[in-house]
Symmetry: C2
Subunit: 260 residues, 2 copies
Amino acid sequence: MKIILTNDDGIYSPGILALKKAMKSFGSVTVVAPDVQKSGVGHAITFSHPLRVREVYLDSEFIGYGIDGSPADCVKLAVREIMKETTELLVAGINIGANVGINVLYSGTVAAAIEGAILGIPSVAISLEIAESSPDIQGAADIAKNMIKVIIKKELPRGTLLNINIPLISKDKIKGVKITKQYSGDFDEHYDRRTDPRGGAYYWLAGTGWPEKDVVGTDMHALKEGYISITPLRYDLTDKSFIKEVEAWEWNNDINISKP
Amino acid sequence: MKIILTNDDGIYSPGILALKKAMKSFGSVTVVAPDVQKSGVGHAITFSHPLRVREVYLDSEFIGYGIDGSPADCVKLAVREIMKETTELLVAGINIGANVGINVLYSGTVAAAIEGAILGIPSVAISLEIAESSPDIQGAADIAKNMIKVIIKKELPRGTLLNINIPLISKDKIKGVKITKQYSGDFDEHYDRRTDPRGGAYYWLAGTGWPEKDVVGTDMHALKEGYISITPLRYDLTDKSFIKEVEAWEWNNDINISKP
């Protein structure tokens, strides 16, 4: 089995290294990841400057390919240039930090899995909730391995990927698995306005990113309750339920154009 | 009416300046946009360094606020810091270049409108298809004005935004308006591998980005046929149609965790 492994924390992240080792028994794992941290870059792609591919070694062991671009760039380059054979699975992670709720849209890790799905590869994003204490990355990698074992026996429809989040609490306390929806309501966020030594203002994005009220059935609620959250995602953003209504709006009368 | 206007081409782009003028009659338009071009940054947000807000003048006329961040950053800062009153409309554009198909995911302009919708503001992204010839930005601004006139009479449901694309052909040849779906199939893309004067390889993202076969009913097809394309989008990526099936997979047997 040919597998692409990527992330947004960068190729030296303990999350990607642990997952590489954990997935060894599934087949050949090719790591193609940003050479520096790229958290929060969303689905950015690079077309205004060219990209470089660098072979990365750690303790003289070949780790994979480091790219001076975004996670989505890594996936494109992996599929279109680096992989010689058809890729059967793409995994993005383990991200150090949960990717739930609105953060799904900001995450480079989820974007990498979306890019994999766009390119027709069964794709999974895996993230680990963290707090102050040092995260149990090996425990998360063991869980991830067992989940991927389930996934590769099944089929994902074209256009759909899985977003998996592992909760903070230590492995033996995890309650189980919940299939969830992306939380998409209000969340705690503000800017922290500060003044530099020259009197100029600057703004730090701040806040917990969590909602005030829990919504049962969402990714955020599952994590909070101590469950592994699995959300099937799609990258076709069309709001099909609203098409009929927009069609009924008075477009042609107001738009100053000639008719065919 | 309080309106936020942003883009991803940067605050000096002719597209945003023409749209600012065109929307004057609707109310007070506050421009908050990246201070340099940010095309293709997707839904990137900035949290690892702070942001600056700069007042921007052109020919000693106040244009708006320039931000050293992404389009989504601009929307967050506009809503959370700059606007003193409730915003009733957010417009992102006019983008110089179409944002259809998979490019919807890469576009900073669409991401800005998504961010507006996340923050509860009725939001619209507007893009103009371009080719070699100098684009008719004034014509596009006139069309955009007429479309916004329709939109502000209606209501967008929470979580839904509109992605509008204006075709290349000159205004009097536009055939009408089509309400469309985002094209999400295969498209033409590859890397152009080149060698630098020192023998090192570098890769340019290349290709038309257009599909081989047209799919009727999509944004790309509408543009190609000379119609204005309007796609209702949502930012909840959950693939609800696939939840039941994933729930039936053998998760709990394979995941090495204790049950509640």
